[in-house]
């Protein structure tokens, strides 16, 4: 069987690639792509933890799942992550279009109106 560590390594590598894109790209749309990769990496980590680490016996308020019941926490969180990704993509697209209307470019190094 494939172990938890393998899934976590894939997730970590995807996160680092997304971070690299966010740090180096100058085009605002490309930076948006990097953010989507980071969100996907987080989703993979959430689902793999939900599959390999048992949620019951952890104590706490509302953190306990009855023994034998399927663990839905990871998948539910990933649904929320997808909702956040949709909101973020829509608002980011609107902001990028506004920047393009005002500056005629989406290069993040040339839009320096606030730089004194």
């Amino acid at each position: 069987m494939i172990s938890l560590q393998t899934f976590l390594i894939i997730s970590a590598a995807l996160f680092c690639l997304g971070l690299f894109i966010v740090l180096t790209r100058k085009n605002a749309v490309a930076i948006l792509m990097g953010i989507e990769l980071i969100l996907n990496a987080a989703s993979i980590a959430l689902v793999s933890f939900s599959r390999f680490i048992t949620p019951y016996g952890t104590g706490g308020i509302g953190g306990v799942v009855a023994p034998g019941a399927p663990a839905t926490g990871g998948q539910t969180f990933v649904i929320f992550v997808i909702i956040i990704a949709v909101c973020e993509a829509a608002v980011a697209l609107a902001i990028i279009l506004n920047i393009y209307q005002n500056f005629r470019t989406v290069d993040t190094e040339q839009t320096k109106e606030l730089k004194g």
Binding site: L4, L17, R25, M33, G74, I82
Partner: protein, 166 residues
Amino acid sequence: MSELMYQVIFYAVAALVLGSALIVAMSRNIVHSAFALLLTFFSVAGIYVFLSAEFLAVAQVVIYVGGILVLILFAVMLTNKVRDVNLSNPSAPPYIAAPLVMIIFAGLLWLIMKTPWKTVGPQEIGAINDIGNALMGRYLLAFEVAAVLLLGALLGAAYLARKRKS
């Protein structure tokens, strides 16, 4: 399906995820980046199938590939001059970013290998009716807040992107 076959397909899907993400990171052409991102989203859906989260795999294909990627392609097309054959995708020199990302990746690898995970082997993570029960039961408040957030974000996006009279 034999065990070996299972592993071979899994590692092929994992290589597809990382390889296409690498193309997104390295390509000089932003349209190539966008289509590599499409491949990444599809293969992440494959990873979800290996985690036996089939509902998430379908949601990934429908929402990411059908929604977010189309949005990104619209952004690419609306913010570049279409007559440019070579839609460039400039990037800053990676002299600082590359070592930084390498250090973060090494730290994450060290953490993943070092931590004694209390795994219980693959367990049942819930079919679609369990997810529905969880969303309408324990996570009902978060679900409603997410709905309001989605409405607010879409209204805000429509407001920001409107045509100004001037």
